[in-house]
């Protein structure tokens, strides 16, 4: 390596290799980057060696050739290699180290996406849990209380929507059947929103009572519900009473 000075003037790490890819000459910059080695393959990561020998040995090297290098500090770095066979039958090589910025950004994006995915999954779990709780609330919002003398009291809590009736219907009908109740008192004192569709469902529930030979009494209707429930009475043998207490007293269900 006598006239290394010529390569030293190059702005990038440069090498001169013989046909066996041994380093005949290299620039100061190259030495600083990869150390003083005798074979070009030695400064490459093992997974890059086959690739390098295959492409560099060919007559018409492709450009640029991407290879993984091992630095003086034993760290891997990616670089593009530009090569050209000289008239002296040596292979001239210029190495352009690639910054790791792109790869860093890729991995940052990836970790961001992973986080989004995890959040997405957590949200999904939460949604399922909420759904479960809501179902529980629905089931609990229509308890059947046996008052004796074949009377059952069902206070309805919260909003009355079709889904709630769907959930409680089976439970209510079962209870009525099992206890052999003859009168069901639906108390709406604790009911909040009443959707029109909910009112329709309520009507169909009442109709089912009738089919089962059970008399329905509705108590505790608030003014805002009255309008919507108005049509409930048509065609149904329903009894509306303003307060629960009146019903209980009239039927001697109060102690």
């Amino acid at each position: 390596m006598t006239s290394a000075s010529q390569l030293d003037e190059w702005p990038l790490p440069a090498f001169k290799l013989n046909s066996k890819l041994a380093i005949v000459e290299c620039s100061e910059k190259a030495k600083k980057l990869v150390g003083d080695c005798s074979s070009f393959l030695e400064i490459l990561d093992e997974a890059s060696r086959d690739k390098a020998s295959k492409f560099l040995s060919s007559d018409q090297p492709v450009m640029p050739l991407e290879l993984n290098f091992i630095s003086v500090t034993k760290e891997l770095f990616l670089g593009d290699v530009y090569s050209k066979w000289g008239s002296d039958l040596f292979l001239n090589i210029v190495l352009v180290p690639k910054g790791n910025r792109l790869l860093e950004i890729t991995s940052q994006l990836l970790s961001l996406r992973t986080r989004l995915q995890e959040t997405n999954y957590d949200l999904l779990l939460e949604k399922e849990r909420t759904e479960e709780l809501l179902q529980q609330v629905r089931q609990l919002s229509a308890p059947c209380i046996h008052l004796g003398k074949r009377h059952v009291l069902i206070p309805l809590y919260g909003d009355l929507d079709p889904r709630k009736i769907e959930v409680i219907r089976f439970h209510i009908l079962n209870q009525i059947y099992e206890t052999g109740a003859e009168t069901v008192i639906m108390d709406l004192t604790a009911m909040e929103q009443l959707e029109q569709e909910g009112a329709n469902y309520l009507k169909s529930l009442m109709q089912t009572f009738k089919v089962m030979g059970v008399r329905g009494i509705v108590t505790g209707i608030k003014p805002q519900h009255a309008q919507q429930l108005h049509h409930l009475k048509t065609g149904l043998d329903l009894h509306f009473v303003s307060s629960l207490q009146t019903v209980l007293a009239s039927r001697k269900l109060l102690l």
Binding site: E66, L103, T106, R113
Partner: protein
């Protein structure tokens, strides 16, 4: 390499996650998850590795393809824990220096689907940290994978360190490097070699290593 794998590889390289996912979901309509991993994703990713060796794509392309593949694997993964009274535990990781992790994810997913409790520690994990986690969690199995052949000695070192632990976990070795390696008979107890996911699956189901002409030479 089927044309479908190739199509998928191209979608990965193009960064087209939407179409890649669509292709995979259509495939899953009449194939199992194992088939997806083994017959579609693995060949696609191996092909992408070969494209780099042929200097057709760059490492940046590979990273993009990996990210898309990762996305697809994650989306198709089972979320719900499978009910299983056995509750065996497996720790999945790649040794230090090994950055290839798609295989690890597929292995983790396969275990999960079979009702195992999985701790996915990811790739490039230093041995000390891996041993520490294993001591704390005491998994029944440690699954290791390497993609590049020259990582095999490191893989062996890790395997030996794990089977030496008091609670004696089994060690499963896999990955492209293992499937290419010519590890011949001379079995070490507690070490299982899987050359492909099919073999892992049959090991999970039967607890027996597939009948291979190779077994294991370690040390």
């Amino acid at each position: 390499m089927t044309s479908k794998s190739q199509e998928l590889a191209n979608l990965f390289l193009a960064g087209n996650e939407e179409q890649a996912l669509q292709l995979v979901q259509t495939y899953l309509e009449n194939h199992t998850k194992d088939e997806l991993y083994q017959l579609l994703l693995t060949p696609a990713m191996y092909w992408i590795g070969e494209l780099w060796e042929k200097n057709i794509i760059t490492v940046a392309d590979e990273h993009l393809a990996t990210a898309i593949c990762d996305f697809v694997v994650s989306v198709t993964e089972v979320r719900r824990p499978v009910q299983n009274s056995l509750k065996k535990k497996v720790m999945v990781l790649g040794p230090e220096g090994e950055d290839h992790y798609i295989g690890l994810k597929m292995v983790a997913s396969l275990f999960k689907e079979n009702g195992w409790e999985v701790q996915y520690l990811g790739p490039n994990l230093p041995l000390d940290a891996a041993i520490d986690s294993a001591k704390r969690w005491e998994p029944d199995v440690v699954a290791l994978s390497a993609a590049l052949a020259y990582r095999l000695p490191v893989l062996k070192k890790y395997a030996e360190a794990f089977i030496a632990l008091d609670f004696k976990p089994s060690v499963v070795l896999g990955g492209r490097a293992v499937s290419l390696a010519n590890w011949s008979a001379s079995d070490t107890e507690g070490i299982i070699i899987v050359k492909e996911l099919d073999q892992l699956k049959s090991w999970i189901h039967t607890g027996k290593e597939s009948a291979n002409d190779f077994s294991i030479s370690i040390g």
